[in-house]
Symmetry: C2
Subunit: 206 residues, 2 copies
């Protein structure tokens, strides 16, 4: 059975929702960031990067959200979570998720994880001050030219949707005014009404 | 016909090599970073992110290296550039490329692109000082637990290889001692002997 390592409030939520939407049989294990469990020897044996998510499969362990989302979509094709028979449409899905991973999530991480890229407290404060602008710019581009509506790719719900929902849940904390992003706000509301999303959020906060 | 927008020395090299390896019919167009052409109205109409690479196809424009590499592999299956019939093996390929995109390339970008995430000159200098450590750590993990050899995924050359080659070409400039990374150095040498790589490098520097 698949097993997802996650931490509440992290980007692992995207994979968690996707497993639920796929109808997969899966277990979850919480990684306690407060006690720095992600850097314990036990966890580093699972994911040497010391991050979540990680997905244990019967073939081995997978990491990296975009790869995991595509894997779940391909492993449960009946759930129709990605356009698996259309290389161009699949690439559009992947490009969206790659943008979230390498640009939007990275911008967000400069708020509290500045020590990944700098050393001085003054740099951390500087980075933190810029987060509303950088995250805001990423979401402005999503609003303007990427989010087709009602779902990211249009009429078909895909693996882009739980990933966008996960990152858009950080907007207020990042100091971005959601009222400037009506399509993103609509998307978040629409996502929050899905039974799979409600079940996963209840599980992660229980 | 496919058309790749690139800039010499950028991560677009990975897609350029992959198009060549795939035997694709493609054209290229150089984007002149020195004159800030990537932020011209003409180019922003192609890629609103103001970055390279961008790939024009008969269905529309694709961006984001991991998505483009998977698209090329899927569009030219006879070139066997990814394990297309094995969702787990494909996810391993994608996880590797996602790590390069969202961690290793991002670490590298803090050397010269600090203005993406901060405002003060002191922060840029601080970020720049840390680049040998952060890029070095990313490549140490690749050397230790990701690069199987002779190719990234083992015996089979995949879309991971031109991407690793592209980023490992930045190591000296990032202040990382390549002698600490013998498997990465071997991989770079092996890549540089491939006719497709030699042709693309000659084209980009001509």
């Amino acid at each position: 059975m698949l097993k997802l390592y996650y931490s509440p409030g992290s980007c692992a939520l995207a994979s968690h929702i996707t497993l639920q939407e796929a109808g997969a049989a899966y277990a979850t294990e919480r990684v306690d960031f407060k006690s720095n469990q992600q850097n314990s020897a036990e966890y580093l044996a699972i994911n040497p990067k010391g991050r979540v998510p990680a997905l244990v499969t019967d073939r081995g362990i997978l990491t990296e959200t975009p790869a995991m989302l595509a894997f779940i979509a391909q492993s449960f094709p009946q759930a129709k979570l990605a356009p698996l028979d259309d290389a161009f449409a699949f690439a559009q899905v992947q490009a969206f998720n790659s943008y979230l991973c390498s640009t939007v999530h990275v911008a967000h991480a400069h708020k509290g994880r500045g020590a990944r890229w700098a050393t001085d407290d003054a740099s951390f404060a500087d980075m933190k001050r810029k987060v509303p602008e950088t995250v805001g710019a990423g979401f402005a581009l999503i609003q303007r030219s990427m989010l087709k509506g009602p779902w990211v790719m249009g009429e078909q719900y895909t693996i882009c949707d739980p990933y966008l929902f996960t990152l858009s849940g950080w907007l207020e904390g990042d100091g971005v005014d959601l009222s400037t992003l009506p399509k993103v706000a609509d998307h978040r509301q629409r996502m929050s009404e899905r039974p799979a999303v409600q079940k996963v959020l209840a599980d992660e906060t229980s």
